[in-house]
Symmetry: D2
Subunit: 334 residues, 4 copies
């Protein structure tokens, strides 16, 4: 970490700084010319609060040279991490489509959708049991009954399953779930992340709808630093001034995250736009820029879906999409 001091900083002022850095046991190197004084802090600077440093009168500016998310960093771990979920591989050239309804509504509904998406090419089944809804009056999901249905359909179809967790208190219900999803609203639910760091489950961590990639990786770091390195990251759109979609899918995050981290990166175009008609073109875009997978909402009668029907595509549309995905993947050389 570099700290540039203002011209005219006194020895006395500098003592405050040394006291602070001393707390963290850091070594300090000093570069000085007529015009400028630069301090270089050597050691574990991850605990340093750069905002605080920048607020000091004597400080001109502060620059963190190395990222604080060591465990996620591509610098420390140059090879792609490949996640294996019951035989389905994600990352390092392997691509996976996760599909299914937003909410699990019944055994029959889920089973029929599961068979349809499996035939079309999905390798993981998604389905929500606990649903984060803006309104307390909206359908909240089937809860533990939903998880039971999901596991029954897993047994019936052989598809590994992914479903969202909303609270630590339900963690026990997820023991046979293959991938635990942390939704955008919980990306900075640090208590939840700490607990998931103790587990050995694969965690799909979605980007919060107003979070930077640095913050996403710092959240992933909560899980890694707890001991769990089975992580998939998911871009699902951010909130912007655009009004034609519910969120703005930020596809540059795919190549950017691939530079920053070794974990696989998938894209959720359904939440990323919230408009069923745009899901197919955006899915193809996500594949074209190198995503390691997709998560898609599929429902056989979107207009009667109990949640998020506006962004669900039908089984038939999904099958067509899967064909196009294959073509794009071979076009870009996979």
């Amino acid at each position: 970490m570099l700290i540039v001091l203002k011209k005219g900083t006194t020895e006395e002022e500098m003592n405050t700084l040394l006291e602070m850095t001393g707390i963290f046991g850091l070594e300090v190197q000093k570069f000085q010319s007529d015009d400028i004084t630069v301090l270089s802090l050597i050691g574990d600077t991850r605990k340093i609060d750069t905002d605080l440093l920048e607020s000091l009168d004597m400080v001109e500016c502060v620059k963190r040279v190395r990222e604080s998310y060591d465990g996620c960093s591509r610098r420390r771990h140059p090879e792609d991490t490949v996640i294996d979920v019951s035989g389905v591989r994600i990352g390092g050239g392997s691509f996976a489509v996760m599909a299914g309804p937003c909410s699990i509504e019944s055994y029959e509904q889920l089973l029929s959708t599961a068979k349809e998406v499996k035939n079309a090419g999905a390798s993981v089944l998604r389905g929500g049991a606990f649903k984060p809804r803006t309104s307390p009056y909206a359908f909240q999901g089937l809860g533990d009954e939903g998880i039971r249905i999901l596991l029954d359909v897993k047994k019936e179809t052989g598809l590994p399953v992914i479903t969202e967790i909303m609270s630590l208190k339900y963690l026990d219900l997820y023991s046979d779930v293959d991938i635990i999803q942390v939704g955008a609203r919980n990306m900075q639910n640090f208590e939840l992340l700490k607990e998931l760091g103790k587990s050995d489950k694969t965690i799909l961590l979605k980007r919060g709808f107003s979070n930077t990639l640095d913050e996403l990786l710092m959240s992933a770091e909560y899980i890694v630093s707890g001991g769990n390195s089975n992580i998939i990251l998911c871009e699902r759109g951010i909130r912007t001034i655009s009004t034609h979609t519910r969120n703005t899918l930020d596809l540059a995050s795919v190549p950017a995250l691939h530079e920053m981290t070794h974990f696989p990166v998938i894209v959720d175009p359904s939440h990323g736009c919230g408009v069923a008609r745009y899901v197919t073109p955006l899915s193809l875009s996500a594949v074209a820029c190198g995503a390691d997978g997709l998560m898609l909402e599929v429902h056989d009668n979107p207009s009667l879906a109990l949640s998020d029907g506006a962004q669900a595509i039908t089984g038939a549309e999904f099958a067509l999409l899967c064909e196009k995905i294959c073509k794009i993947r071979s076009a870009i050389g996979n």
Copy 2:
């Protein structure tokens, strides 16, 4: 709720719509002219997913006429709600300053700050025990030990106390805390909100850093609909394209929330800008536009604070600010 249909909608298409509305037991009135067909849905439309309706081919547009946050709505409850916290009143003309350190660091630190802010005019003591930190390597707060210190200082000074909750699993620790704070990152932690709805504690609900006021009130509605109407709302800044502050304090939310809801609205300028030098001017701005209170971070040696030192003001600055607050309040007629 009004639904405007596209010209040329067939009877068959309209059946899908009637099937949907039937599920929710709503009455439908139809207005029709050559140019336009408008359906008016009568009944409890809060469960209706307007995004889904708008996604239907036949639908031109949808407009919700009444808000879905009945329990919070000023329309239903025209009088100001006044919150009484151990004798301190907030709302309906009563103004309260909540002040203290971002993080509780020790009994001595907290006690000395508490005495200082009490003398200057604070009526509630704030102090963080469980801290939501972007990085897992940053100071996470003293935890339950912090809560104990806070309650000891409460006993010693007589000040009611407020502190943040980050997880349901610690709820028992909060039985003697006067106000439980739900932070910005947990504004849509719906499981937490549901649980707090069952309590009779006063809840301070902070606006998420990328949430609309409608969403804030829908989150408050989770608490109200659970049976708890002791709610204080808090504007603390949103994430924008501005780079001169950590967040952009959205002060129009004060008069806007006062129109929309009967609950008191306070402002947190410390998080709202993240820069100690701007805390005083923004505090005065918040008072001038009618806020019912302020929440402020005060630390005796901000440059050594274990968290958020960049935005803390000193006790001396706080005392000066309190004097100015009084003057502004009498200038605007309070």
Copy 3:
């Protein structure tokens, strides 16, 4: 346009409304039930200020049923408009790559880049002569000398050319330019748009970096309503909270604009991300979601470019990209 009135609106209040609508010569139809009063305004409602209506005490809400951008609207003009620029067709299934340096630096530089991009597959040459730069101290472009060089290289290579206009006073210089570009910062320079509406040149209109698609189309409407229907729209990224790119490319605008308007839509990934390494993946994404063309910055020695070197790709990278674009286009069926 629909206006929903609040319960209890008096006849007197309604008179204000009728007076207003009278000014614009609109017919008013009234739908009334116990619960609700809806006014439907028939006629040319484009001049009505919906913000003003919504601010009236008696008004519950206002909903514009039809868009105000008639001349651009797909509803009025269902077929794709195909732009023909000196034999190069854009839109309606025809795809064009526009490429060249950000700034024209010399005849030699431009000619060599032009030949290179032509060989690789570009059909239009781009090059900036007047450059909009945030700082007055940054390189401002070669100005009229730059335009002369551009036209010389056009003659030499046979490539049609596109370059940006920054002020009406230079309009005469553009008589032999094939496409006049209106940059993001001038999307709402209405005096400029009005003047371009009187010309018969092809105009490439870029989306402002914080504008909605409705606003983009209203700006295009300035040109169309002046009599010029030779318009290409360009998505080039919006300003968001993301920090890993200079802008966030909003690719959902491609299918969304294709629904809203009949004009061709191209994408500028160079400005859309500002990072050369992400230009190739985002270009492929743009093609995959149906863009009618791309605009790309190519420079043979980006590190010595006089402007925007950070986002320029080399001629060799451009050639590789063009091959991949062809593959993606045949994968999606073009």
Copy 4:
């Protein structure tokens, strides 16, 4: 400017860098330790493109130590600049209220409003003649006829006047206008700024609705570097995710700009929120945080205003507001 190089940078790579800096005639100092290499560039670094530097493989990070807006900088010019407009002083402790209708509609309308606002305490009259409207079908202002009316009312009332310029071609019309306003959409219309730099008129420069303060000051620098130092800056709200107001007024920009620059800073709460009911509280907030003036839209019958009626307050409301402004100003010690 500091450039931190990556570990393992070769001499050859560093040559590119030296070639670049050589172009700009800068001296380079080198600080090196085992861990880090820092280059410090001495000289006029304003022309350096930091994005380009950061894009180079060898570069770890770049940090500009001093701002590029020398002419505006408080560092270079520690004293407040006080603007004198025909005897009305703005800045350095002097406060001015500019008020009047959004659009000039007729001589009678403007004169009556002018008298009303003058009596209440306004010291400058505002009125729009050329109006930037999103839609080409909306009222575009009275144009040169509007300017004539404005100047007649100036003569009649003695109030200095401010009105917006939208194009260079009308510049001659503004010779008797006291303050020329550059609107938010033209903040980066650099050709216009260059021309205004040659004038000696007072320029009111509004912040663009998605621009940072650095960008605002760089735009002011276009005017200053042209030779005109009569500048007033204006905060008028930015576009954010908030939906309760048209824009989000960013009041922290007032103290922040006061630190960064010596020019006076006023606030436009009318555009800053777009809702007449919030204009009074936000005006008081602006005064409380130290603004040097206000710009307000006043209309005697807002519901019949030809533009922006939703945000206009009446003359009576304005008079009440002026009284409160005085009280707040004396409360904060002015």
